[in-house]
Symmetry: C2
Subunit: 318 residues, 2 copies
């Protein structure tokens, strides 16, 4: 069984060949905001062809395709229901026709965070757990939920994926999504400058020397002892932690897996969040454990391999 | 098929006989805080016996039993895992033995909010919907979740039931559960006096004339134009609404069913919450509708009838 898998991210696409539970070759495709979605897929086809040549595989040997997309995906019909601006034409794209006509292969599509969770569960730090929630902290806050060994989808395929849009302080910043005081609005890169600039003492802070404050800068200045950085960091940590508690109360998991570039400061983040969860999550059975997932790119490709595998097995059963 | 069903509430137990999709007789049993749990069950047995006599039924005709409990229930083993103080001995009670030795009947136990949701779904305002969340507003904030026609339980049977403990303002009141700024801490009877007394202008408010402020008082004074009542009411409505958005983002439902005595002021509550949800919940497929469920007592008994029915049918299948 050889599958072609790709994770369509905001700035680039990671594509790979999945064979016998491994990604045996992979490649990065940079994308351009001006390209049509058909053009994106055409370029991806090219990368896929190069990849199968590189591993001495024939096109006819490819029996599965997996795509992870940064949006809400109807996995039963392979339709994108809602997605960020960059790929908005994908809503009208016929993925099934592409899979059949171009590759003659079974296609599994899913939300990118669910694909990553599949990888974490089957091949990563979530191995051995059947109840997992994830939070990816960065530009936004993403995630997914696995309950008793099944991914949560919901009626419109958006259950489990909107943990970043849990309100943790309705008296605070408005989020891009339209909601008030989401985890994302209080703790992600897109709003961090705004958060920093709204601090009453910003003029006295070392953060004032930066044109653009990202989490790397914020945590550096926090380590240097800047007071405003300390307060902003603590508020961000509280937002992430409260969001984690909301997910724990919603989905009843054993394990919370954190990822994202910001995990370079795991020494600050994990102890704070673990302590908050231990103190504030109501889990009479025990404590939810936090683990970190590195290399989230590869893990999503592996997860797609698992999702394609499952789809092919289910097709045989029916 | 005749089943005996009972909803064990904080101050009283409602017991009934379920036959052919109806509660054909019911009775209220007041409970005493000093009684042992065995004594509570003994009294319930007495009420059940009276009820079956009243409907000319024989004990041998009873083939099912249903119990709703205000706690976390392992429905597969009929064990109470965690429960409020009043019934804390129930954690050690052998429900299966009682059902077998005393009644020789199949027993279904569940959390009370799930039993109510089962009734709402099968016999109430949720009929025809397979994706429902509930919020019962009152002494606390309870609820449950139905996703694609299945109740959400989670690994430790607490998924779906902790909507009242979603953080909506981590900078606010601490909750009984140990968490910060839960929906419950900001919007339920147990903390309402504390909320009112913490308002900076309480001395100038008509609420200051009451020894005890409950929602009936609060909404009355709000209608009379008292400024503090208006501010407190709006904050409560925002807490409930933000909690509702968190549940919508978590479970992806079509329908939110509200209940509780406070629904006497549905004219204030429902328009506010529907408007907030329409504005702030991210549901690209459409809008989540709000409905009110009256007579939540009977609906829980009907729901128990459905749960017992399902358990008996599943036993036959296996």
């Amino acid at each position: 069984m050889s599958y072609l898998v790709a994770d369509l991210g905001g700035t680039r696409i990671k594509a790979g060949v999945f064979q016998e539970k491994k990604i045996i070759a992979s490649s990065i495709l940079n994308t351009d905001n001006k390209e049509s979605f058909s053009k994106v897929i055409e370029n991806l086809d090219g990368v896929f062809e190069e990849l199968i040549t590189s591993v001495n595989c024939q096109k006819s040997e490819i029996n599965g395709l997996g795509l992870a997309l940064p949006g809400i995906v109807d996995i039963d019909r392979n339709h994108v229901l809602a997605i960020n601006d960059k790929y908005n034409e994908s809503i009208h794209f016929n993925f099934d026709r592409w899979a059949r006509d171009k590759w003659n292969a079974v296609l599994a599509t899913d939300n990118d965070a669910r694909a990553a969770l599949a990888g974490i569960w089957q091949y990563g730090v979530g191995k051995g757990y059947d109840n997992i929630i994830t939070m990816t902290l960065g530009t936004g806050v993403g995630g997914a939920a696995l309950i008793n060994g099944k991914f949560l989808y919901g009626k419109h395929y958006q259950a489990g994926c909107l943990g970043g849009h849990s309100t943790v302080n309705f008296d605070s910043f408005k989020c891009n999504c339209g909601n008030m005081g989401c985890v994302e609005a209080l703790g992600s890169t897109w709003n961090l400058n705004n958060i920093v600039q709204s601090h009453p003492d910003i003029a006295q802070s070392s953060l004032n020397n930066y044109d653009n404050v990202d989490f790397a800068v914020l945590f550096d200045e926090y380590r240097m002892g800047d007071t405003v950085s300390k307060e902003v960091t603590e508020n961000v940590l509280k937002a992430w932690s409260s969001g984690a508690v909301n997910l724990i109360h919603a989905y009843d998991p054993e394990l919370l897996v954190l990822s994202g570039g910001v995990m370079k400061s795991a020494d600050i983040i994990v102890p704070f969040m673990q302590n908050w969860i231990n103190k504030h999550a109501w889990t009479p059975w025990g404590k939810v454990q936090i683990k970190i997932s590195q290399a989230i790119d590869d893990i999503a490709l592996l997860g797609l391999g698992y999702l394609v595998d499952t789809k092919i097995k289910n097709k045989r059963k029916n």
